[in-house]
C-alpha cells in the first residue's frame, strides 16, 4: 500500500523549511491556519506570520502591499474563498501588479466532502487561469506538493497552488517534477488521459483496468496548468487521436478547457471531459461524491471505452 499523505501537512512542513532558509518569507492566513497547516509556520516564526481573521479580501490586498516591499508572501485559505471571495483583490492588487504572492488554496474540489456545496471549489481553476501573469500548479500527491511549493518559491510572480482536504496516496515512479512540464505516468498510443490533482490517482486505476482489456492508455499528469505544456498535448493529439481530460472541477473553464483551446487551434481531435457537469456539489463522503459526480476511475474507463471505438477501432 502506497504512503498516504495530507497535501496540506506537506505544505505546512515545507513552509517551515522555507522559513528557516529565507528570512524574507512571510505567511498569511484567514482564520483557517489549523486546517491549512500554516499554523506550523506560525509556531516557528510568529514574527513573520499574520492572521487576518475572517477577511480574505483584506488578506489578499495586504499580501500585495507586503510584496511591494520585497517580501515573499505565502498565504492560505480554502479554495472557495481564495479564488472566489477575494477575486478582485487577486486580480488588481496581485496579478496586475505581478507581485510575488503565492496563494496556496486548500480544500479544493468535491472531496471536501460533508461541508457541502458552499465549500467545494469547482470553479477556482477557471477563475485563476483567466488572470494574466498568474501561474497555477495542482500537485497530485504529498511529495509533489513540496515540489510545487518550492517551484513557487523559486519562480517570481503570482502563483495559485491548489490542494485537497483528504489524504492522497503517493504516486511512485512518476519521475522528476519540472514546473511547466507535464509528467508522463504511463506510455500508450490508443488514447491519452490527461489528469490533475487527485484525479491522477483515479486515472492510474483506469489505466490498469484498460490495460487488462488490451487498451494502452497514455497518462499525463498535468500538474502545471499555467504555463501549460502545449507540446505534450499536441504530441498526444497527433499520436493518440483521443484525449480524455479528468479534473475535480467543473467541466467549464478548467483543465479540459485548457486542453480544448490548444487542440482546437492546432490539431483538432476528440476531447472528452470527465469532471463535474455544471452542477453544484453536496454533502457526502469523498468516495461517495466521486461516484455521484462521475469522477471515479470507472467513469474514466467508461469515457475511454465509449469513445475509443469511434476514433481508433
Amino acid at each position: 500500500m502506497a504512503e498516504q499523505l495530507y497535501q496540506r501537512d506537506v505544505y505546512g512542513r515545507t513552509l517551515v523549511k522555507l522559513g528557516s532558509l529565507d528570512r524574507n518569507i512571510v505567511v498569511l492566513d484567514a482564520d483557517l491556519s489549523s486546517s491549512t497547516r500554516t499554523n506550523l509556520f506560525a509556531k516557528q516564526f510568529p514574527d513573520r506570520f499574520f492572521n487576518f481573521g475572517v477577511a480574505e479580501q483584506n488578506m489578499m490586498a495586504t499580501a500585495a502591499g507586503l510584496a511591494s516591499c520585497g517580501k515573499q508572501v505565502f498565504l492560505s485559505t480554502f479554495a472557495v474563498f481564495a479564488a472566489g471571495r477575494a477575486w478582485d483583490q487577486v486580480r488588481v492588487s496581485i496579478s496586475y501588479n505581478n507581485f510575488n504572492v503565492k496563494i496556496v488554496a486548500t480544500h479544493a474540489g468535491i472531496t471536501v466532502g460533508p461541508d457541502g456545496a458552499s465549500h467545494q471549489a469547482l470553479e477556482d481553476i477557471a477563475l485563476m487561469r483567466v488572470l494574466a501573469n498568474m501561474n497555477i500548479i495542482i500537485p497530485c500527491d504529498g511529495p509533489q506538493t513540496e515540489d510545487a511549493i518550492m517551484a513557487a518559491a523559486k519562480n517570481p510572480g503570482p502563483f495559485y497552488i491548489r490542494l485537497g482536504r483528504s489524504k492522497v496516496a503517493t504516486i511512485e515512479n512518476k519521475g522528476e517534477f519540472k514546473f511547466g512540464k507535464a509528467q508522463l505516468i504511463s506510455e500508450g498510443n490508443d488514447v491519452t488521459i490527461v489528469a490533475c490533482g487527485i484525479m491522477v490517482t483515479e486515472a492510474i486505476l483506469a489505466v490498469k483496468n484498460l490495460a487488462a482489456k488490451g487498451i494502452k492508455a497514455r497518462l499525463i499528469n498535468m500538474h502545471t496548468i499555467r504555463p501549460l505544456d502545449n507540446e505534450v498535448i499536441l504530441k498526444a493529439a497527433q499520436e493518440t487521436k483521443l484525449i480524455i481530460v479528468c479534473e475535480e472541477h467543473n467541466i467549464i473553464g478548467g483543465l479540459a478547457s485548457c486542453i480544448d483551446e490548444v487542440i482546437a487551434e492546432n490539431f483538432p481531435v476528440k476531447v472528452i471531459r470527465v469532471g463535474v457537469r455544471n452542477r453544484f456539489g453536496q454533502s457526502g463522503q469523498p468516495d461517495e461524491l466521486l461516484k455521484e459526480y462521475n469522477l471515479s476511475s470507472l467513469d474514466i474507463e467508461k469515457a475511454v471505452l465509449s469513445n475509443i471505438s469511434q476514433s481508433v477501432k
Binding site: 481573521g53 479580501q57 490586498a61 500585495a64 516591499c69 520585497g70 488588481v92 505581478n98
Partner: protein, 273 residues
C-alpha cells in the same frame, strides 16, 4: 527628502501650480477625474513637499516612505506631484491616458514612483497595511501614507483593513481621507450615508485628526501630529471641496469624472493663475 521644506505660503503656490497641471493634463487627455484630484491637491502637495522621505533618482530606495493612492481615479494629481518631485519630466504629463503612456488612466507600476496599481476602490488601505507590516518585519522606520476617498468607504473591504491596521497597532501608518462629500451619483450622504466619520474610525481603534483639507497650516500640523501617535494608526479626516480651486467645478457632481473642455480649461487656468 528631495527638496528643502516649503513655507505654507510656498506650499499654497505649489498646490496652485499642481492644480494647473491637473487641468492641463485632463483637457489634453479629454477624459479623467478632475473633482477628486483638485479636492486632494493641497493634502498631497504638502505630503510630497514637506513630509515624505523619498529619492526620485533611486525610486527603489528601501528606506523610503511609502505613499499609496487608494482612490486611484485621482491619479492626475499623483502624476503631477511625482513630476514636480522629479520622478519623470513634466512633458510626460501630457501623455496621460494615451496608448503606451507611462501614465495610465488609473495607477500602474509603469509610472516611476507608483508602488502599486489601484483603481478598484477599497483595496488601497490593505496595500498600505502590507507596507506597514513589511516595515515591522524588517525593523525599518519608514512611514506609510494612504489617500482614501470618502465614497470609497462604502466598500466593505476598507473596514476589514481598518480593523486590521488597529489590530496590528500600525503606528507607522497614516491614512488621509479626502472627505469631499461627493461621489459619482450625488452627495455621499444621499447615496449611502457615511457620517459620523470620526466616530466610526475612533470605534475601529484609530487616532482621528479632523482638519480643513485646504488649510496648509492645519495639513502640516496634522502630518506632524500623526508621527507622534504610538501603538495605533492615524487617520486625517480632511474636509475638502470637490473641484477646489476652480469656481465652476466646486461642489459640482458632474466634474467627478468629466474632463474640462478646452474652453473650460482656459477659464480654469485663468482662475488658477
Amino acid at each position: 527628502m528631495a527638496n528643502k521644506l516649503l513655507t505654507t505660503e510656498e506650499l499654497v503656490i505649489q498646490a496652485r501650480s499642481i492644480r494647473r497641471l491637473i487641468i492641463q493634463m485632463l483637457a489634453q487627455a479629454g477624459s479623467g477625474h478632475p473633482g477628486g484630484s483638485l479636492s486632494a491637491a493641497d493634502l498631497i502637495t504638502a505630503l510630497y513637499s514637506n513630509v515624505l522621505r523619498f529619492n526620485p533618482a533611486g525610486p527603489q530606495w528601501p528606506d523610503r516612505d511609502r505613499f499609496h493612492m487608494s482612490k486611484g481615479h485621482c491619479c492626475p494629481l499623483w502624476y503631477a506631484v511625482l513630476a514636480q518631485a522629479g520622478y519623470f519630466p513634466k512633458e510626460k504629463l501630457f501623455t496621460l491616458r494615451q496608448l503606451g503612456s507611462i501614465l495610465q488612466g488609473h495607477p500602474d507600476r509603469k509610472t516611476p514612483g507608483v508602488e502599486s496599481a489601484s483603481g478598484s476602490l477599497g483595496q488601497g488601505l490593505a496595500i498600505a497595511l502590507g507596507m506597514s507590516l513589511a516595515a515591522k518585519v524588517d525593523k525599518k522606520d519608514y512611514r506609510v501614507y494612504c489617500l482614501l476617498g470618502d465614497g470609497e468607504l462604502q466598500e466593505g473591504s476598507v473596514w476589514e483593513a481598518a480593523m486590521a491596521c488597529a489590530h496590528f497597532s500600525c503606528d507607522n501608518l497614516c491614512a488621509i481621507l479626502d472627505a469631499n462629500g461627493c461621489q459619482i451619483d450625488g452627495r455621499c450622504e444621499d447615496i449611502m450615508g457615511l457620517e459620523p466619520l470620526a466616530a466610526k474610525w475612533q470605534a475601529f481603534g484609530w487616532q482621528v485628526i479632523e482638519i480643513n483639507g485646504h488649510d496648509m497650516k492645519q495639513i502640516l500640523a496634522a502630518y506632524e501630529q500623526a508621527k507622534t501617535i504610538k501603538n495605533k494608526p492615524t487617520i486625517i479626516i480632511a474636509r475638502t471641496v470637490k473641484g477646489k480651486g476652480v469656481s465652476f467645478m466646486e461642489g459640482v457632481i458632474g466634474f467627478h469624472g468629466r474632463a474640462p473642455t478646452q474652453e473650460e480649461a482656459q477659464r480654469a487656468l485663468k482662475e488658477l493663475a
